[in-house]
C-alpha cells in the first residue's frame, strides 16, 4: 500500500462531482494556454473560451451540493448562484473582447486564460467555508487581475493603473492575511463556524476585534470602498475596457458575496463591531464617489467613480444586520451586474469607433447617430440612478427599506441625498446624447457580440424593473441558505 493509497483510505477520496464547473474552467484555461503556444488562431481561442464558459454555466445548475476537499470547499446554493452569475459575466466580457483588443492592437492570448484563472479564483472565494480557501481564492483572482489590468502594453496609463492596483491590492491581501492570523490566534481556527462558536462563547476581545477590523479594511480595499479606493479610478481607466467591465462587475460581485458570507457566517454575533464599520465605509463611498464623479469629463473614469458609489449603496445594507438587509445586498449585487456590464460594454463597443475617446463631448448627439445604442445607454444610466421602471430602483429601495427598518435614518438620508447628487452626472450623459447636436457624422459598426450583450443587459434591466419578483425570491432564498449555515 502506497502512502497515497493510505491517505485516501484514511480521509476518503475527495468528491470531485461538486467542483465540476471549476474543473471545466480550469481545463479550458489550460487548453487555451497550450493552444496559444502553437497557434495564433484568435477566433479559435475565443470560441474555446466561450464554449468552456457556456459548458460551465450549463453544468452549474446541475451540480450537486456538498463539501469536498476535507471540508475546505463548500458548495451550496449560495455559492452556485454566485458562480452562475460570475460565469455569465465572464461570458459577456469574452464575447465582446476580441473586436476591442484587435481594434486597439493589443491582442494577446493571455487575456483569455488569465481571465479564466481570475474567474476560478472568484469561484473559490464564494464557496469557501474557511478563511484559507477564501485567501487562496482572492489571491488567485487578484494576481490574475493585476496582470490583466496592465496588459494594455502600449498605454502608459494602463501600466500606472496596474502598478497602483498591484501595490494597493497587495496591501489589501497583506492586511487580510494579518487579520486572519489574529483571528486564528484568538479562536484557533480558520473555519467560519468554529470562529463563530468561539466568538459567541465570549472570545470577542481585543485580539478578535482587531483581527476582524483589519480583515474588514482589507475587504473594503478589495471592494474599492472609500477611503481605500485609490487604485480604482486609475486601474479601471487604464485597463482595456472589457477588462474594466470584468473588474468592475465580476470582481465586485464576488467580493460582496464573500464579505457577506464572512460577516454573517464567521462573525454573526459581532454585529456591533462590523455594522458600524461598514456603515461608515458605505457613507464615505457614496459621498466621495458621487461628488468626484460629478467633476469627471472622461466617461470611463466617471463610471469608475460611479462604481465606487455603487459599492457604497451595496455595502450600506451591511449596516443593518437583518435577513432583509442581506437579501437586499444580494439583490443589489445581482442586479448591479446588468447595469455595470451594460455601461462598460457600451464604452468598450464605442471605443472601437473612429475618433472616440470616452470624453463626454463624444456623446454629443449620439441619439441621432445611433438611436438604439443611445436608448440602451439611457436605460443603464437611469437604472444606475435608480428611476423606475428600471431595476436599479428596486436595488436602492431594498437597501433603503433595510436601513429604515433598522432605524439607521442617517445612512438612509445619505443614500437618498447622494442619489439626487448622482442625477447630476448620469443625466449629463443623457443630455449630451439626446439634447446636443452631433459633431461628427461617422457611422458606427458593432459586432454581433456587442449588440447582443448590450441588448441583453438593457432588456433584462427593464424586465427585472417590472418583474423583480424572481430576483427577490432568489435573494431571499440565498439569505435563508446563509442563515441556515449558522444554524439560525
Amino acid at each position: 500500500m502506497s502512502v497515497l493509497q493510505e491517505l485516501v483510505a484514511g480521509l476518503g477520496a475527495p468528491d470531485f462531482s461538486v467542483v465540476v464547473p471549476e474543473i471545466i474552467i480550469l481545463l479550458t484555461a489550460f487548453t487555451i494556454f497550450a493552444i496559444e503556444l502553437f497557434t495564433k488562431a484568435r477566433f479559435l481561442i475565443s470560441v474555446i473560451t466561450v464554449f468552456g464558459l457556456l459548458l460551465a454555466g450549463i453544468v452549474i445548475p446541475f451540480t450537486p451540493e456538498g463539501e469536498t476537499f476535507y471540508g475546505l470547499y463548500q458548495v451550496d446554493t449560495f455559492s452556485l448562484t454566485f458562480k452562475f452569475f460570475l460565469v455569465m459575466t465572464s461570458f459577456f466580457v469574452v464575447i465582446i473582447m476580441r473586436p476591442y483588443l484587435e481594434a486597439k492592437n493589443t491582442y494577446y492570448g493571455e487575456y483569455y486564460y488569465l481571465l479564466l484563472f481570475s474567474l476560478l479564483g472568484m469561484m473559490m472565494m464564494v464557496s469557501s467555508p474557511n478563511l484559507i480557501t477564501f485567501y487562496v481564492g482572492i489571491e488567485l483572482a487578484s494576481i490574475s487581475m493585476y496582470i490583466l489590468a496592465g496588459m494594455y502594453r502600449k498605454d502608459y496609463l494602463s501600466k500606472e493603473g496596474a502598478f497602483k492596483y498591484l501595490i494597493m491590492g497587495g496591501t489589501g491581501t497583506a492586511l487580510i492575511s494579518y487579520g486572519i492570523a489574529l483571528i486564528y490566534g484568538r479562536t484557533g481556527s480558520f473555519d467560519f463556524s468554529t470562529i463563530a462558536t468561539s466568538i459567541t462563547s465570549g472570545n470577542l476581545d481585543v485580539g478578535a476585534v482587531g483581527g476582524l477590523a483589519i480583515l474588514l479594511i482589507g475587504l473594503a480595499l478589495k471592494a474599492s470602498s472609500v477611503p481605500f479606493h485609490f487604485w480604482t479610478p486609475d486601474a479601471y481607466q487604464g485597463a482595456t475596457t472589457p477588462i474594466t467591465a470584468f473588474m468592475a462587475v465580476a470582481a465586485k460581485i464576488a467580493t460582496f458575496a464573500v464579505i457577506l458570507k464572512i460577516m454573517v457566517e464567521a462573525f454573526p454575533f459581532a454585529y456591533p463591531v462590523w455594522t458600524l464599520g461598514w456603515a461608515l465605509l458605505a457613507a464615505a463611498s457614496m459621498i466621495f464617489g458621487n461628488f468626484v464623479a460629478l467633476r469627471q469629463d472622461n466617461v470611463k473614469r466617471m463610471l469608475a467613480y460611479s462604481s465606487i458609489a455603487h459599492s457604497g449603496y451595496i455595502l450600506a445594507a451591511l449596516a443593518s444586520p437583518t435577513d432583509f438587509a442581506f437579501t437586499a445586498l444580494i439583490f443589489y449585487s445581482l442586479v448591479y451586474i446588468f447595469m455595470g456590464l451594460g455601461g462598460f460594454i457600451f464604452l468598450s463597443a464605442m471605443e472601437r469607433q473612429y475618433g472616440w475617446s470616452n470624453h463626454i463631448n463624444d456623446f454629443k448627439g449620439l441619439a441621432k447617430r445611433s438611436p438604439v445604442m443611445a436608448l440602451f445607454m439611457l436605460v443603464y444610466m437611469f437604472s444606475m440612478l435608480g428611476i423606475p421602471p428600471t431595476v436599479g430602483f428596486f436595488g436602492k429601495l431594498g437597501v433603503f427599506i433595510a436601513l429604515i427598518g433598522s432605524n439607521i435614518w442617517w445612512l438612509a438620508v445619505v443614500l437618498v441625498v447622494m442619489s439626487i447628487i448622482s442625477a447630476g452626472y448620469y443625466l449629463r450623459i443623457v443630455i449630451y446624447m439626446y439634447m446636443h447636436e452631433p459633431t461628427s457624422k461617422a457611422r458606427f459598426n458593432f459586432s454581433l457580440g456587442e449588440a447582443f450583450a448590450l441588448a441583453f443587459m438593457a432588456t433584462f434591466i427593464l424586465i427585472l424593473g417590472i418583474y423583480p419578483t424572481l430576483f427577490w425570491d432568489i435573494s431571499g432564498y440565498l439569505t435563508a441558505v446563509l442563515l441556515q449555515n449558522i444554524g439560525k
Binding site: 437579501t327 441619439a367 441621432k368 438611436p371 439611457l378 437611469f382 428611476i387 423606475p388 421602471p389 430602483f393 429601495l397 433603503f400 427599506i401 429604515i404 427598518g405 438612509a412 438620508v413 437618498v416 442619489s419 439626487i420 442625477a423 447630476g424 443625466l427 443623457v430 443630455i431 439626446y434 439634447m435 418583474y467 423583480p468 419578483t469 427577490w472 425570491d473 431571499g476
Partner: protein, 502 residues
C-alpha cells in the same frame, strides 16, 4: 375606513395603461410616417375607454370600481392593485382628453418624430398609472417613470434654454419624490413593526392609526414631495422655466396633468392618512395657498412672455386647489376637484393658444403681438373663451371650482377666503390684459405688422380639433356642474370621512 371593491369584469384599466406602451413599441419598430396616426388612434382609444368608465361608474355609493389586484412581489408584500374612484376617474379622464389634444396638436411636429411620439406615449401610460394605482410601489414607479419622458420632451424638443429647464425640472421633482419615498417606506416599516402586516397597499396604510408625532413627520415628508409637484410657493421656481422651454404639447401635459399629480397626492394621501396632522397644518397650508395665489398672480402681471404668464397663473390656480383641499369640508373638496379638472382644460387650451401664436408670429413676447383678433377670428373666439374660463367668468368651468373652493375656505377661515377672493380680481386682470394686448389694440398697430398679420392663416383642422373638446368641456362644466359634482360627491365624502364623520 373600510372600502368596498367592485372587481373589473374586463381589465379595462390595465388595458388603458398597456395600450400606449404597446403603441410606443410599435412606433419604435415602424416607419416614421406611421408614428402620428398610431399615436392619435391610441390616445383616442384610451379616451374612449376612460369615457366608458366615466359613464359606467356607479356614483351612488363609494366603492373602488374596475378593481384589479394581483400578487406581484410577495417577498415585499407588493401587489399590482389598480382601480378607480371618482377622483381617480376624473383625473384619468382629464389625462386621456389632454393627451388627445396634445397628440392631435403634435401633427405639426417635424423634428425627430418617432422619439417624440414614443416619449409622449410612455408619458401617457405613466400618467394614467399614477392616478389608478392603489399600491404604493406601483404608484411610485409611475410617479417616477413619468420623469424620464418628460425630461426628454423638455430637453430635446424645447426652446433655447431647454437643457437647463429640463435638468431643473428633473432634479427638483426627483428630490421631492425621494422624500415621498422616505415617508412611504417609513410608514411601511411602521406597519410591519406595529401590526405585522407586510403590505404596500393604500388600504392597509390608511388604517394605520399613527401616533400624532409620527403623523406630523410623515405628513411633512409626503407634503414636500407633493408640494414640489403642485408646485406650491416657494417650490414653484422649476415650473416657469419648464413651461417656457417645453414644446407646446409638453406644456399642455405639464399643466393639465402633471401639476394635478401633486394636488391629487394631497387629496388622496395626505388627508386620509394623516387626519390629525392635516388639521394641525391647516393654517400653514392656507398661508402657503394664499401666498401662492397672491404672489404668483402679481408675478403673472409682470410677465411679458405669454407662456411664463400662463405658468404663473397655473401656480396661482393651484393655490385655490390647496385652499379647497385643506378647508376640510365638502364644498372645499368638491371645489378643489372641480378646479383641478377645470384648470386642466383651461391651462391646456391657453398653452395651445400660446403655441398657436408662436407658430405664426414666432415669438412669445407680448409686445410683438397685437391686433391678431381681426385676422384670425376663429382662434380669437376660442382663445377668448379659454381666457375667460381661466379668469373665472360665471358660466364657464373656472368659476364653479374656484367659487366652491372659496366657499369652503370661507367656512373654515374668513380672512383667508377674503384674501384669496380679492386676488381673483388680479387674476381676471392679467388674463384680460394678456388677451387685450395680444389680440386687440388694432389702432396702435404699425403698418408692417398689419401686412405681416394679413398673411397669417386662421386655425387649421388639427388645431381646431385639439382645441374644441377642451372648450366644449369648459362650457359643460360651467353650465351644468351638478353632473360632475354628483359624480365626485361620494368620493369627497369618503376622503373627508375622518374629518366630518360621514
Amino acid at each position: 375606513m373600510t372600502v368596498e371593491f367592485v372587481n373589473a369584469t374586463f381589465p379595462i384599466i390595465t388595458v388603458s395603461i398597456l395600450i400606449p406602451l404597446i403603441a410606443a413599441g410599435v412606433v419604435f419598430f415602424t416607419d416614421e410616417k406611421h408614428a402620428k396616426p398610431i399615436s392619435i388612434i391610441t390616445s383616442i382609444i384610451v379616451f374612449i375607454l376612460s369615457t366608458f368608465m366615466l359613464f359606467t361608474y356607479d356614483y351612488s355609493t363609494y366603492a373602488i370600481q374596475f378593481y384589479e389586484k394581483y400578487s406581484w412581489i410577495p417577498f415585499l408584500g407588493v401587489s399590482y392593485e389598480v382601480g378607480v374612484d371618482a377622483l381617480s376617474l376624473t383625473m384619468v379622464w382629464l389625462t386621456a382628453i389632454s393627451f388627445v389634444a396634445a397628440f392631435v396638436w403634435s401633427t405639426n411636429i417635424q423634428k425627430r418624430i418617432k422619439e417624440y411620439f414614443i416619449a409622449f406615449l410612455i408619458l401617457e401610460a405613466a400618467c394614467i398609472g399614477v392616478f389608478v394605482s392603489w399600491d404604493m410601489v406601483w404608484f411610485y414607479i409611475f410617479w417616477e417613470a413619468m420623469l424620464i419622458p418628460m425630461f426628454l420632451i423638455i430637453g430635446v424638443w424645447g426652446y433655447a434654454e431647454r437643457i437647463y429647464a429640463a435638468t431643473k425640472f428633473f432634479i427638483y421633482t426627483f428630490f421631492g419624490s425621494l422624500f415621498l419615498l422616505i415617508g412611504v417606506v417609513g410608514m411601511y416599516i411602521y406597519q410591519f413593526v406595529e401590526k405585522g402586516i407586510l403590505s404596500t397597499s393604500y388600504f392597509d396604510l390608511v388604517n394605520l392609526g399613527l401616533p400624532f408625532r409620527l403623523e406630523i413627520i410623515f405628513f411633512l415628508l409626503l407634503a414636500l414631495g407633493f408640494a414640489i409637484k403642485v408646485p406650491m410657493w416657494p417650490f414653484h421656481t422649476w415650473l416657469p422655466a419648464a413651461h417656457v422651454q417645453a414644446p407646446t404639447a409638453g406644456s399642455v401635459i405639464l399643466a393639465a396633468v402633471l401639476l394635478k399629480m401633486g394636488t391629487y397626492g394631497f387629496v388622496r394621501f395626505s388627508l386620509p392618512w394623516f387626519p390629525e396632522a392635516s388639521k394641525y397644518f391647516v393654517p400653514v397650508m392656507f398661508a402657503l395657498g394664499v401666498i401662492a395665489i397672491i404672489y404668483t398672480a402679481m408675478m403673472a402681471i409682470a410677465q411679458t412672455h405669454i407662456k411664463r404668464l400662463i405658468a404663473y397663473s397655473s401656480v396661482s390656480h393651484m393655490g385655490f386647489v390647496t385652499l379647497g383641499t385643506f378647508a376640510l369640508n365638502m364644498e372645499g373638496m368638491n371645489g378643489a376637484i372641480i378646479t383641478m379638472i377645470s384648470h386642466g382644460f383651461t391651462s391646456a387650451a391657453l398653452f395651445l393658444a400660446a403655441g398657436f401664436i408662436y407658430e405664426r408670429v414666432h415669438s412669445y413676447e407680448i409686445k410683438d403681438l397685437g391686433g391678431l383678433a381681426r385676422f384670425m377670428p376663429v382662434f380669437a373666439t376660442l382663445f377668448m373663451i379659454s381666457a375667460m374660463a381661466s379668469a373665472g367668468l360665471p358660466g364657464l368651468s373656472g368659476f364653479v371650482g374656484e367659487f366652491l373652493a372659496l366657499l369652503g375656505t370661507f367656512k373654515a377661515s374668513v380672512i383667508t377666503a377674503v384674501l384669496a377672493g380679492l386676488s381673483l380680481v388680479v387674476g381676471a386682470g392679467y388674463t384680460l390684459w394678456l388677451y387685450h394686448k395680444a389680440m386687440f389694440k388694432e389702432s396702435e398697430l404699425p403698418n408692417e405688422k398689419i401686412e405681416k398679420w394679413e398673411k397669417l392663416k386662421d386655425m387649421n383642422t388639427a388645431e381646431l380639433l385639439s382645441f374644441l373638446p377642451l372648450v366644449i368641456m369648459m362650457f359643460v362644466i360651467g353650465i351644468y356642474p351638478a353632473w360632475w359634482i354628483r359624480l365626485i360627491e361620494t368620493t369627497s365624502a369618503a376622503i373627508l370621512s375622518k374629518f366630518i364623520g360621514g
